[in-house]
């Protein structure tokens, strides 16, 4: 218990014995109507909000507000998630908080709350579920090999970009890239080498692109970019930076500028695709 008392600014564990978290135990003990309402509201939000993390921080903020606390934190430790710590306000920890990390999973508040005021186990379960939901959403949106956006999410992002272009008169360039001799690399050096190349290429995308740019892997060896406020003249240098010199694999690309060349998703794709295959033909 001494560790609990050592928490910064008197942060102390809530509900020490009954609410020690049991990994894998989905039961959510409920101790009062208040707890029911509080928990039900959080579950509703978890079901409707796009971000589970946001719900976790809302729960912490509500806890702080409702009980007029100085601070609150939740520590969970579950298979597949590891030990994860959430602090109210998403704030950085100062040195006074460091002992938080020596403690077992639990809900910590400053000042400590009475045991029947809130269900810590429910909050910890909520955190774990929220994080799992976010991870599932992340996986659903991203290509597992490269961690870039996948085709489905890219289509949505492109639709959004076109819509914003119309509404705000923004311009962007859609770029479609195709690796010219990727199959030869796979055949020559094996699929592991091919995968490693794709991962390194994705890493180069991430390093070369600016804040606000979007990169996606839309096929086996096909990538697409959404580049706001980018003139086609600057594309060769960008592509060179991404692919590097000397390159194991060469890249062909096509582009279309929205809205000056096309202002619909299908037409943008078609134009960029035509230019891509012209470029591939020229290279061949």
């Amino acid at each position: 218990m001494a560790r609990r008392m050592g928490l910064g600014r008197g942060l102390a564990a809530l509900l020490p014995e009954p609410l020690e978290h049991e990994a894998g135990n989905n039961a959510t003990p409920v101790s009062s109507n208040d707890v029911n309402e509080f928990g039900a509201a959080l579950v509703d939000e978890l079901a409707t909000q796009e971000s589970g993390l946001a719900v976790v921080y809302q729960a912490l903020d509500r806890l702080v507000e409702r009980f007029d606390l100085h601070d609150a934190a939740i520590v969970v430790d579950e298979p597949g998630l590891g030990r994860q710590v959430f602090c109210a306000g998403r704030r950085p920890l100062d040195e006074d908080d460091e002992l938080l990390f020596t403690l077992e999973p639990g809900v910590y508040t400053d000042p400590p709350l009475e045991t029947d005021e809130i269900d810590a186990s429910m909050l910890m379960n909520l955190c774990a579920v929220a994080l799992r939901l976010d991870l599932l959403r992340y996986d659903a949106w991203h290509d597992p090999l490269t961690a870039l956006y996948d085709r489905r999410s890219f289509d949505r992002l492109l639709e959004r970009a076109v819509s914003q272009s119309r509404r705000y008169d923004w311009n962007f360039t859609l770029v479609m890239l195709d690796l010219d001799n990727f199959k030869e690399l796979n055949d020559r050096e094996g699929h592991a080498a091919g995968d490693a190349f794709l991962r390194s290429l994705a890493e180069r995308f991430q390093r070369a692109l600016r804040f606000g740019d979007t990169a996606a892997r839309i096929g086996g060896d096909e990538f697409a970019l959404i580049l706001p406020d980018t003139e086609p003249d600057s594309l060769p240098k960008l592509i060179e930076r991404i692919v590097g010199e000397p390159a194991q694999v060469t890249v062909s690309y096509g582009f279309a500028v929205c809205p000056s060349e096309a202002d619909e998703v299908d037409r943008l794709f078609k134009l960029a695709d035509e230019r891509l295959y012209d470029a591939k033909g020229a290279r061949a």
């Binding site: 001494a2 560790r3 050592g6 020690e20 049991e22 990994a23 894998g24 135990n25 796009e50 971000s51 993390l53 946001a54 430790d77 298979p79 597949g80 998630l81 590891g82 030990r83 994860q84 710590v85 959430f86 602090c87 998403r90 704030r91 950085p92 920890l93 040195e95 460091e98 002992l99 990390f101 020596t102 403690l103 077992e104 999973p105 994080l131 976010d134 991870l135 959403r137 992340y138 996986d139 597992p144 090999l145 490269t146 961690a147 991962r199 994705a202 890493e203 991430q206 390093r207 070369a208 692109l209 600016r210 804040f211 606000g212 240098k237 930076r241």
Partner: protein
């Protein structure tokens, strides 16, 4: 999801990361990442910095806090055994490890600042590893009066080239210098093993995105003795074959100071050239 939610999720997916905190400091996003102890070669601070810089246009400072167990604290599990997190953790401690992360060395990271064992008994110790390599925006020269790039949009006028980041990649022997001018970010690269000259080269490479005709190259670069509290101070000499340019600046590392010194040497030249090129 908001950008901050995305960033936090991606940070928590990095191996061993337990928590992420955020706050604004002086127009800079301060990101604090807490992680389990790590073996050599993890490059976690660099990975976190890269992630953070992709999610915000602000300058970013990443502080990595690593936790070491002095004594494994007992914690209950469903079976009543000690939890896995209470023993010395391997590098890939966190099961949330499926984010694509570069294989990087720690060589390019600043030295650890050990804030020491706190209450050594039954607690963890913490190393605070502050990745300030890519932190503060640098105001090099006052060129506001000299350049007018955006006369149609005076509210967005920003004519100073600012240093965003200096990153080293020992695995590829590469150094990157990230700069920004009027909202446009560019990255310059050079062979890292060339030392201070590499930082100068990479900075010039980055500046060429704004001024492709920039012909300056490094003549020399050397560290200057300075008081400890100033940090590292580097002076550089640049040449275009005609008039030399000199710059001097301080930074948290030699490479950062060299990049800043290069901007110090060239910012006025760049401002005048851009001004002349702008109708």
């Amino acid at each position: 999801m908001s950008t901050l939610d995305d960033l936090e999720l991606e940070l928590r997916k990095l191996p061993g990361v337990r928590s992420a905190g955020f706050t604004e400091r002086d127009d800079m996003l301060f990101v604090q990442v807490h992680a389990a102890p790590s073996g050599p070669g993890s490059g976690l601070a660099l990975q976190a910095t890269r992630l953070a810089s992709r999610h915000t246009q602000q300058p970013v400072a990443v502080e990595l806090v690593r936790w070491h167990h002095a004594t494994p604290p007992a914690a209950p599990t469903p079976n009543g055994d000690s939890q896995e997190d209470t023993v010395e953790e391997p590098d890939t401690e966190s099961p949330i490890t499926d984010v694509a992360a570069p294989d990087l060395d720690d060589d390019d990271l600043p030295a650890l600042v050990d804030v020491g064992d706190r209450d050594a008994e039954d607690v963890e110790t913490v190393d605070r590893e502050t990745a300030k390599v890519d932190t503060r925006v640098v105001d090099t020269e006052d060129v506001d009066a000299a350049v007018d790039l955006t006369s149609e949009a005076p509210a967005e006028r920003d004519t100073r080239v600012k240093l965003l980041a200096v990153l080293s990649f020992p695995d590829t022997d590469e150094i990157e210098v990230h700069v920004i001018l009027a909202g446009q970010r560019t990255i310059g690269r050079a062979v890292g093993s060339r030392g201070l000259i590499a930082a100068v080269d990479a900075t010039i490479d980055a500046l060429r995105a704004f001024l492709p005709g920039l012909v300056f190259s490094p003549a020399w670069a050397r560290e200057v003795d300075a008081a400890e509290e100033v940090g590292r101070v580097v002076a550089v000499g640049l040449t275009d074959g005609r008039a030399p340019r000199h710059g001097i600046a301080a930074g948290d590392t030699d490479m950062e100071a060299a990049a800043r010194a290069t901007l110090d040497a060239l910012n006025r030249t760049l401002a005048l050239a851009l001004s002349a090129a702008t109708p």
